[in-house]
């Protein structure tokens, strides 16, 4: 077990990419050898430290794509090139696929970032990737250009308001692809209900499914117990975030409720 990187290391932000009004990607000149699906803890001194997925780790630099939703992520958005951010990890499990597999990636919200990293690695293994990106409206669609630039990856956009691509849920696009046949596995990162629907659709179509289970995490390495789920009793920072659907089905709270920093339950 790797326990060397459980102390934050401060690294300078090299570049900041403004993705849209709510989302920025931070690039650091630093690698933890992370794999797609894994996450790190990002630390802003004297404020907080939060789990963020690895959006790219190419062995020399790492990317983190952060949506501004509250105190910590808003503070991330205030950072400038040259500022320090603390990083530790990588933590958790990764996305994997078979050589040459035909796979569908279902992304909602910032989920497009970790799934882009996965697509980037999967096409190297000869995978054929159907990348479904959902967003509320056209201006919030993430990573579309970068995905299109990958060989053997096709982007399918869906927006809630119909301003781009399919008008409606991205799970409807997934359903059409599954109906067309040939998809061997579905990988989902995004709102929990979306992942639940996507995995159920995959199962019904006889495809494998993998989802990224997110719970309130404090340590990231299985000590604090905050992200332990009901049913299995396992911390998802260790057993997840990426888990096969058969395992996710044993989690009683999946799609129903999650816990806050006190351990109190909140329904989705």
């Amino acid at each position: 077990m790797q326990i060397l990187n459980r102390v934050p290391k401060s690294v300078k932000i090299k570049e900041i990419i403004v993705e849209n009004d709510m989302v920025k990607t931070f690039v650091v000149d630093f690698s933890l050898g992370a794999r797609p699906g894994q996450f790190v803890m990002l630390w802003i001194p004297r404020l907080d430290e939060k789990p963020i997925s690895v959006a790219m780790d190419n062995g020399s630099e790492m990317h983190f794509t952060v949506a501004a939703v509250g105190p910590f992520s808003n503070a991330m958005h205030e950072l400038s090139v040259g500022d320090f951010v603390g990083v530790r990890g990588p933590f958790g499990t990764e996305f994997e696929c078979d050589e040459g597999a035909h796979i569908a990636l279902l992304a909602g919200g910032y989920g497009a970032a970790p799934l882009y990293f996965f697509a980037h690695e999967a096409v190297k293994k000869g995978a054929k990737v159907e990348f479904i990106v959902g967003a509320r409206s056209a201006d919030l669609v993430l990573y579309e250009e970068r995905i299109s630039a990958l060989d053997c990856a096709t982007v399918h956009v869906s927006t809630d308001d119909g301003s781009k691509g399919h008008h409606g849920y991205n799970t409807q696009v997934l359903q059409e692809l599954l109906d067309a046949g040939g998809i061997e596995a579905v990988y989902a990162v995004g709102p929990e209900i979306m992942m639940l629907k996507g995995a159920e659709a995959a199962e019904a179509a006889g495809a494998k499914a993998f989802v990224s289970v997110e719970r309130y995490m404090k340590c990231g390495f299985g000590v604090c117990g905050n992200c332990v789920v009901d049913g299995t009793g396992d911390p998802v920072c260790l057993k997840g975030p990426v888990m096969p659907w058969e395992e996710v089905k044993k989690i009683e709270d999946f799609g129903k409720y999650h816990r806050d920093e006190f351990g109190k339950k909140h329904n989705f």
Partner: protein, 314 residues
């Protein structure tokens, strides 16, 4: 196969390894899982009478040598605790030790009253957390008179609340001049056993790139491997004075050999927390196996035979 079972304050533990308070102990299912991983029992995270907020992150960190934490004991309060207890009970019969904490004196009384209604067999009184000092001042375990007063108060609230049969263990701090005098005072005040020790320090970690303290609370309690040097010595000293005292030896235990050593110093049960950082949640089963192997190799048939063994040679 050696007999690893221990009877502690009238409660049978299948083996002496107990999850220490504050690690993986937030939910009933999480604690039941620790039993599946091979622990003989669990200790809840410290429970408060009312919801209590912990510190922001970073709250804990470590490497292969040391660990430091300042979680600040977050808790959702007794209603959630009762719900989690029910889930735990539905999954396992293994003993659960109720760890309680209070801040000021009244707070300890209130939570004692609340847990009294949950049918506890063993209550562990945490008066030794070094990480809530800004809120509540120096831990009570650092004062002979306060540690006795809080022990007496909790005992009386347990009795009044219908838990007169519950045994009371007081968890002591290593951050005192003489831990034996504190043990004397809480035993005199009605403690049935001692848990030694809580974390050391507090210590500090500074990020040299930014010249910032890394723990949000600046300071945190130190645990992990090197703490064993201290915890073994302190358990030894307490046992030397109080011959048959039931002690939960906690601090830096992560292998079967560590656990045997701690038992020889005088512990009947072994608390393990930071071992989960070093060896994962499966550590309990691994350590139990290592203890069993050691017993087999050394002709020990009952683990209880080694409790306090070093005292015969000193």
């Amino acid at each position: 196969m050696a007999d690893l079972s221990v009877e502690f304050l009238g409660v049978k533990f299948e083996n002496p390894l107990v999850l220490a308070s504050g690690i993986l102990g937030i939910t009933g299912d999480g604690m039941a899982r620790v039993i599946e991983h091979g622990a003989g029992g669990v200790t809840t995270k410290s429970l408060w009478a009312k919801e209590h907020k912990g510190h922001p992150n970073p709250t804990m960190m470590g490497n292969e040598h040391w660990f430091i934490n300042a979680v600040g004991i977050p808790d959702a309060g007794p209603e959630k605790a009762a719900e989690e207890l029910a889930r735990y009970r539905a999954k396992t019969d293994a003993p659960m030790i109720f760890n309680i904490v209070g801040g000021m004196m009244e707070g300890f009384g209130e939570i004692a009253e609340k847990v009294a209604g949950m049918g506890p067999k063993i209550v562990e009184l945490n008066i030794s957390c070094p990480n809530v000092k800004d809120e509540f001042g120096k831990p009570m375990a650092c004062s002979i008179s306060k540690s006795a007063e809080v022990t007496r108060l909790v005992r009386s609230k347990l009795d009044e609340g219908g838990a007169a049969d519950a045994k009371l263990v007081v968890k002591l701090s290593p951050n005192v001049e003489n831990i034996v005098t504190i043990a004397d005072s809480v035993i005199e005040a009605g403690a049935d056993g001692i848990c030694a020790i809580n974390t050391l320090g507090p210590g500090m970690v500074i990020d040299i790139e930014t010249a910032q303290p890394v723990l949000h609370n600046k300071f945190g309690g130190i645990s992990g491997h090197m703490l064993k040097l201290l915890s073994v010595a302190l358990v030894y000293q307490i046992r030397a004075k109080h011959k048959d005292l039931p002690i939960i030896g906690t601090g830096g235990i992560s292998t079967g050999r560590d656990a045997i050593e701690m038992m020889m110093a005088g512990a009947s049960l072994i608390g393990m927390g930071t071992a989960v950082h070093f060896r994962g949640p499966e550590v309990f089963g691994k350590v139990a196996k290592e203890m069993n192997d050691w017993c087999d190799e050394n002709g020990v048939e009952k683990i209880t035979d080694i409790i306090g063994k070093v005292h015969a040679n000193t």
